[in-house]
């Protein structure tokens, strides 16, 4: 089984990227693109979160919300296997993930672009391991920059760009690697509200654009408005160690508007779930 790395074959993914001997199949994971079972992470003997089970199906954007300190960002990094989980397993299209892979791309909370590389070089970096000819890599990178609205800015350096433009570079770089799943860790938190709002409106159509290979996306955010605007399903994480306490399907038509009364109902629901209850006197 392949991971849908078309149109570019991924030559980097070695046999250790997934456990081919595990025998897990697509049907065995209920058709999810990415899923985890019994995932837990501990610093020493103290678990930050444990028993996390979640799934993202094809063409689905799921969100994870929760109070500060519940380990949402760490959970995202364990899904990408950038941090090995203490317990549990992660599956991509039914096969176990055992090391970081371009098939699961992460966009960081702090926007990370290499200052000594132009926008184009930043994106082209993601294609090194594919062993493409330089022209081909350049062409793909230019296409991704165009997709995120940076056509004409290829030769500029990140420090010459605004925060929003830098985040677009990071998104283009993530998409250039032809990932199957995109993980986004508070991707708009460092942007001003106007820029963030603009990117939010674009991101959903961007990640599921026909020219990308993405099949699912996972978003971690504190911004409940953002979550309701973007997510198809929301997992609520709480407690110490944190566990998934609720799973909510956002049943709203797109494009979504905050004026929709049901939008506000979801907002109230999440506020109630996440609010710290005052102590009874």
């Amino acid at each position: 089984m392949t991971y849908g790395f078309s149109p570019v074959e991924n030559r980097c993914r070695g046999p250790l990227a997934v456990n081919l001997a595990s025998g897990q199949t697509l049907s065995a994971r209920n058709g999810s693109e990415v899923s985890c079972e019994g995932l837990g992470f501990a610093f020493g003997s103290k678990f930050i979160f444990k028993d996390i089970n979640l799934k993202a199906f094809k063409d689905e954007l799921i969100a994870i919300i929760g109070p500060t300190g519940t380990g949402k960002s760490t959970l995202l990094r364990t899904l990408a296997h950038l941090i090995p989980p203490t317990t549990g397993r992660v599956f991509l299209e039914g096969k176990e993930v055992t090391k970081p892979s371009p098939a699961i791309a992460l966009i960081h909370q702090s926007i990370a672009t290499f200052p000594w590389m132009t926008a184009l070089d930043n994106v082209r970096l993601a294609l090194i391991c594919k062993g493409l000819a330089k022209n081909e890599a350049t062409e793909t990178s230019e296409k991704m920059l165009e997709l995120v609205g940076l056509k004409g800015e290829e030769a500029d350096y990140p420090k010459e760009m605004s925060g929003g433009m830098r985040q677009r570079i990071a998104i283009a770089r993530a998409l250039a690697a032809s990932p199957a799943v995109l993980l986004m860790d508070e991707p708009f938190v460092h942007l001003d509200e106007m820029t963030a709002d603009g990117l939010r409106k674009e991101i959903y159509s961007l990640v599921f654009h026909p020219e990308t290979t993405l099949k699912a996306a996972v978003l971690v955010s504190h911004n409940l408005h953002e979550v309701i605007q973007l997510a198809d399903r929301v997992y609520v994480m709480k407690g110490s160690p944190a566990t998934i306490t609720d799973e909510v399907k956002i049943d709203l038509p797109r494009p979504r508007t905050e004026r929709d009364p049901r939008f506000l109902d979801y907002l109230d629901q999440f506020f109630n779930e996440l609010s710290v209850k005052p102590l009874k006197v």
């Binding site: 980097c12 950038l82 892979s101 371009p102 699961i104 960081h108 702090s110 672009t113 290499f114 000594w116």
Partner: protein, 554 residues
């Protein structure tokens, strides 16, 4: 056998000498740094001068200075003054630059508080500038200590030939310390004594290393100020994995390396305040004192240069000029040696340094002993290595064996600087970048070429600069060491040619003129090299390769 009390006493004398001179460097560094922030003209002369002097390996023309001291101050005091000058020279530049950087990067809001309360010189130093400089200075102490210990074995005993024959025994000047003891034992073939002395040095080095680690940790905990540089730089994935002393040390070094990014702000602050006459305190004395010192230094330099040129007979100048092409070849030969040593150090730093930085458990285990080894002065144990290998190596490489020894001594004396700076540079790469590299499975070579080396370039250049300077010191010893092991190799260790050989040989034989002339040539070459190469490369690194600028976090 006098090992019972003499060796510990000599070790204490050496360590005491080092710490006393480090203390002197710190106090003078504070005063000079204060003059810098109060007088722009003083700063404009002071900083380039310190940079040039720091980049010139003084050991090349050290004998001249030593002889000057010995001749000017007869008796044991003259020898002690000469030795102290050498150690002071080894430690002072590093500390002076550290104090200057610290004073220039005091957070603006703290400066404003001190102005608000109208603090004068003493209060400002006591409550603001000195406390703020402590983390940076303590982080520089290890390098200063290692440098000083390296020079001890050379400086406590030096041969200055006929010039000092009357004041030192047979031209060999010596003062009390462990370096002198080791040299005497080696020359006498007393290898038991050498081993005891080396053991004593090892104990002192480990004790001081532990002390400095603790001091650095304490200084950062008590006096560290949270700056944007620290916050961004140390959000690294490996932060939780580095043992506390190393993490603290790295944090301090991070501030040092990140200095350039913030200096302009401080310059703007200080100079804006100067421009509008908003000086703290009523006294303008430091400013005028700065002017006076600048005038004195420049005047002295011009005057002494003129006097030197005039005092040398015309015929001598003619001979020197005729010799110049040959001497420049010697300089070139030594630059070739330094290049080989530097490349080997760089390769060691990049491969081993990266391995240790990315394999944290092995790194945690190996770095402390490596640090202690680096502080252990190579000239003290090198004769043993020489004695053990010379019979074999002389037969195996009859033409090249001296080059091999020069390389080894040079490498041992300098590899650590670029290694450790690179290691810190890799540690300081924000975790987000390392995630990108892992996420996209970038292979080793592209990863090194496109990410790791550029990201650590500012650290790498700093480390390379220190490595090159220290390589000269190792070569100065290795190219002419006539009494390294008289019983095994009566001819000693001698390079067939080379600038350091020329200088040390001539000095040992009392020919001060030719040694001084080649030293002058060397100083000119180093100054040009420093301005054209090191400085430009550092500017490039600061402009383009500051990895923290790649993280955008509002």
């Amino acid at each position: 056998m006098d090992f019972g009390y003499l060796i510990p006493l000599a070790t204490l004398a050496t360590v005491g000498r080092i710490f006393a001179l480090i203390g002197l460097s710190i106090v003078t560094g504070w005063l000079l740094a204060y003059l810098c922030i109060k007088s722009r003209s003083f700063e404009n002369v002071y900083v380039p001068l310190v940079n040039v002097f720091e980049s010139i390996p003084v050991i090349g023309f050290l004998p001249l200075v030593l002889v000057a001291f010995v001749l000017a101050i007869p008796g044991a005091i003259g020898v002690e003054a000469a030795v102290d000058f050498l150690v002071f020279d080894a430690v002072s530049w590093n500390i002076w630059i550290g104090a200057y950087q610290a004073f220039k990067t005091v957070p603006e809001h703290l400066l404003e508080v001190s102005e608000n309360y109208n603090f004068g010189f003493l209060r400002r130093m006591r409550y603001l500038l000195i406390p703020h400089s402590i983390p940076r200075l303590t982080s520089n102490l290890f390098a200063s200590f290692a440098d000083a210990f390296f020079y001890i074995s050379v400086s406590e005993v030096f041969t200055a030939g006929a010039a000092t024959a009357n004041v030192c025994r047979g031209g060999v000047c010596a003062t009390f310390g462990i370096g002198t003891l080791i040299t005497r034992y080696t020359v006498a073939g007393n290898y038991v004594g050498v081993f005891y002395a080396l053991f004593s040095v090892a104990v002192a080095v480990i004790a001081v290393t532990l002390l400095l680690s603790w001091l650095s940790r304490w200084a950062v905990a008590k006096y560290g100020v949270d700056t944007p540089a620290v916050i961004k730089r140390h959000a690294g994935r490996w932060r939780g994995r580095i043992p506390t002393p190393w993490r603290r040390w790295r944090a301090v070094r991070g501030q040092v390396a990140g200095f350039s990014r913030y200096t302009w702000r401080m310059r703007t602050y200080w100079h804006t305040h100067q421009k509008f006459g908003n000086h703290s305190g009523p006294s303008k004395l430091p400013k005028y004192l700065g002017y006076a010192i600048v005038a004195c230094v420049l005047g002295y330099l011009v005057y002494s240069s003129l006097m030197l040129v005039i005092s040398v007979p015309e015929a001598t100048w003619y001979v020197f000029l005729q010799e110049t092409p040959k001497l420049l070849e010697y300089v070139g030969a030594d630059y070739l040696r330094v290049s080989v040593i530097t490349l080997a150090s760089l390769a060691f730093a990049v491969f081993v340094g990266y391995f240790l930085a990315s394999h944290h458990r092995i790194g945690d285990a190996l770095l402390p002993p490596l640090q202690a080894f680096a502080a252990f002065p190579a000239p003290t144990y090198f004769p043993l290595l020489f004695i053990a290998t010379i019979p074999f190596l002389e037969r195996a490489l009859p033409l090249l064996y001296s080059e091999v020894y020069i390389f080894i001594l040079g490498f041992l004396s300098c590899f650590y600087y670029v290694f450790f700076d690179f290691w810190i540079g890799v540690q300081a790469i924000p975790s987000e970048f390392l995630d990108v590299v892992r996420n996209h499975e970038i292979p080793f070579w592209p990863k090194m070429r496109k990410v790791i080396l550029p990201a650590s370039l500012p650290y790498l250049i700093t480390g390379l600069s220190s490595t090159i300077n220290s390589a000269w010191a190792g070569m100065a010893i290795g190219e002419y060491w006539p009494d390294i092991a008289p019983k095994v190799a009566p001819g000693g260790l001698q390079a067939p040619f080379g600038m350091m050989y020329y200088i040390t040989y001539n000095m040992a034989n009392g020919a001060i003129g030719p040694a001084a002339y080649v030293s002058l040539l060397f100083a000119v070459v180093v100054a040009i090299y420093g301005v054209v190469f090191t400085r430009n490369l550092m500017d490039l690194a600061r402009k383009k390769y500051v990895v923290e600028e790649g993280i955008f976090a509002a």
